[in-house]
Amino acid sequence: MSASTITGRQRLALGAVVSGLFVLAVALLLVDGGREIAVDVAGVFTASYLGSALRLTVPIAFAAMGGIFAEKSGVINIGLEGLLIIGALSAIATNYALGLESTPIDANPWLALLAAVLASAFVAFLFAAVCIEFKADQIIAGLAVWLIALGAAPFVSVIIWGQRNSPRVGMFSSISIPGLSALPGIGAIFSITPPVLLLLLAVPFSWFLLNRTTFGMRLEASGEDPKSLDTAGVDVRKVRYAGVILSGIYCGIGGAGLALNTGTFVGTGDTMIDGRGWIGLTAYLIGNYNPVGAFLASFLFAGLDALQLELQQISTITISSTLVGIVPYVAVLVVLTFVGRTRMPSAAGEHYDSDE
């Protein structure tokens, strides 16, 4: 299996995004006093901006890579958004429970992360069972996972905290590389949070798992040609369970990574996940089912998201934050228009019955 090539359409898509940003930049220069604004905007791209972009990449990229495992195995998991929500809530609820006076241990973000992974993996397992054992329609079942999480997370929040948002319950602290992190200007790069570190490790790991291991080959076969895999004596159902549960594990890390950045869970509106699972879904389509490509696409969307946060800090720009906030979603729409149909695994979405 060679690494995937970028298709003409994907090149078009990236070109569209880049030219869109260019047009935006030119438009800025034409605005009265645009020159100073341009200087301000250029000043945004600092090491700390890179850091915040990477932190925002965590939920999107983990959801995207998780989605690849599920879909490669033949189960389209559009419940990624819901799994992220469950991960975020479980992490914060666990940390809150650990931090209570009555519990013997203190709040610990690593234990919270573990709980998030377990909860999200369990829900993914249920989703897999619904799709594999009971032959549910994967799209509708995936929607149901999202809608259940969208209702259950605020429900649980209200039960525990009496409101949809949690109090602050402790979060991950940054890991600094001694010496390097003290450098002026670029020091921020060498001070990262554990979720970002996990992400940077997960990208090559996922690529290796998919392209260089027996398990990866089986996943591929399970989505492309389950009949042959079955003939070769491998249980297709087990491979699909593994693929979907992996997507749950990844979403658990992604959701917990986002929530443990601030140490709170926000359950109002579309919850704090706010569509990042759906953006992750698009990211792996653009990345053409390759973890590295999915990571880069996620980083692009997260970069836009981080940009709008930075722009809000600049006093000379009086754009409404709400309006800038929709930029990532518009970018997804533009990209989808250009990418369109992707070459998905042939048997994805179909039930496979072994004739025994």
């Binding site: 549910a136 509708i140 929607l143 259940i148 209702g151 706010d274 089912y289 929709i326 729409l333 369109g340």
Partner: protein, 406 residues
């Protein structure tokens, strides 16, 4: 994997997969569909009851209803919760009004989702279509209302105009993902969800910065004039029977469109059998756009009715009626007539959930959980067939009825 973007349509796309399932859903006989819907409903209610019971052990309350050794005190009695939902939705005339009000809105959003589903499309964007349609309606009646006489004649002009504008704006917002689907092959689930976020952002920004009541602390428009408000039919609630009758008429109209007209037939076949439709000389791409536009227009009308019957203004934080519409449509087997009882059921749940929240302290987010559970259980008919087999009920293959749902 080489990413060759073949466009010959032979490789799998979500569309074909979804289409095949919708096929099965539509082909199942009406009796079986009703059985599946009712069973799914029962299962969702049972799972919801377990959730309520368990969460009662986490919540704090002054008078617990049960003590279990090892678990402690449980606060919530599931039976009491469901009884309160019923009592809270039909217990008095004003409760009944609230129930019918919710039902009316859910009829429109449910029909919106059903129209897309019947064409093999997942419109998750009813929410966004409703938000923008409702805002357009509010601005139209605010602008036009000033120039009209404050009497029945004025109402007869401004209310239909408000509905029409809501339908047009919602329709345009639904047409965008339709066009993206037909001509750029972008999957409508993702595009409609993205457009929901965009709609919410754009509407919020417009109202907050430009066209809203800038003097107010909350993000909202001015209150609409009295002539643009739908007349109240039941004291103590803003329910208007005119809106309900209109919704019922639309449901019947859509059912007739599908069963009695050539256009309806074409819309259905394009969704279910694209290739066959093309052979029959039907422009399937155009029909995708038509279905999504019609679906969006219904979402826009839901927004218009919400503004003119419920809120009397557009306000940030429109309730998630669009997502409720998905559950209503799926529960109804995507049949326009079936949407009527499904909407009534959800209207009951929604208006009763307020009573549950107020009198029992159970968060009304419970209804959102039930909504998701119902969708999940209906998505897995096989589960019920297995149960049916185990207890010796019919194991015959599903009878097809040619996609007709009479």
């Amino acid at each position: 994997m080489n990413g060759d973007d073949s466009t010959d349509g032979t490789d799998g796309s979500w569309r074909d997969r979804g289409g095949a399932t919708l096929d099965r859903l539509v082909d199942a006989s009406a009796a079986e569909r009703i059985a599946i819907s009712l069973t799914a409903l029962v299962f969702a209610i049972v799972v919801g009851a377990v959730l309520v019971f368990v969460s009662g052990f986490v919540a704090d309350c002054s008078s617990p209803f049960i003590y279990l050794p090892g678990l402690g005190y449980g606060c919530y009695n599931p039976l009491e919760v469901y009884w309160t939902i019923l009592a809270g939705s039909f217990g008095s005339f004003s409760d009944l009004g609230q129930t019918l009000l919710e039902t009316t809105l859910l009829l429109f959003t449910g029909l919106s989702v059903a129209v897309a589903f019947r064409a093999g499309l997942f419109n998750i964007g009813t929410q966004g279509q409703m938000v923008l349609g409702g805002l357009a309606t509010a601005m139209t009646v605010l602008t036009v209302g000033e120039f009209l006489p404050a009497n029945l004649l004025g109402s007869l002009v401004v209310i239909p105009l408000g509905v029409a504008v809501g339908a047009v704006v919602g329709g345009i917002w639904g047409m965008i993902p339709g066009l993206m689907k037909a001509y750029a092959d972008a999957h409508e689930v993702i595009t409609t969800i993205m457009l929901n976020f965009v709609a919410a952002g754009v509407a919020y920004w417009l109202v907050q910065v430009h066209i809203g009541d800038l003097a107010s602390d909350s993000v909202q428009t001015h209150s609409i004039p009295a002539i643009a408000r739908l007349p109240e039919s039941i004291a103590g609630s803003r329910f208007s029977v005119i809106a309900l009758l209109a919704a019922l008429a639309v449901a019947v109209g859509i059912a007739l469109l599908y069963t009695r007209t050539v256009l309806g037939y074409d819309l259905r076949t394009s969704g279910i059998q694209e290739t066959a439709a093309e052979y029959g000389g039907v422009d399937a791409k155009r029909n995708v756009v038509t279905s999504m536009t019609l679906s969006g227009a219904l979402g826009g009308i839901a927004g218009a009715v919400y503004v003119m019957m419920v809120q009397y203004r557009w306000q940030a934080g429109i309730p998630s009626l669009g997502f409720d519409g998905i559950a209503v449509s799926i529960l109804a087997g995507n049949n326009p007539i079936g949407v009527i009882p499904a909407a009534l059921l959800f209207g009951t749940l929604k208006s009763g959930s307020l009573a549950v929240d107020i009198s029992l302290g159970v968060p009304n987010e419970l209804i959102e959980v039930l909504r998701g559970l119902i969708i999940l259980f209906i998505a897995m008919p096989e589960f019920f067939r297995m149960i049916g087999k185990r207890y010796g009920y019919g194991t015959d293959p599903v009878a097809t009825d040619g996609g007709e749902s009479q």
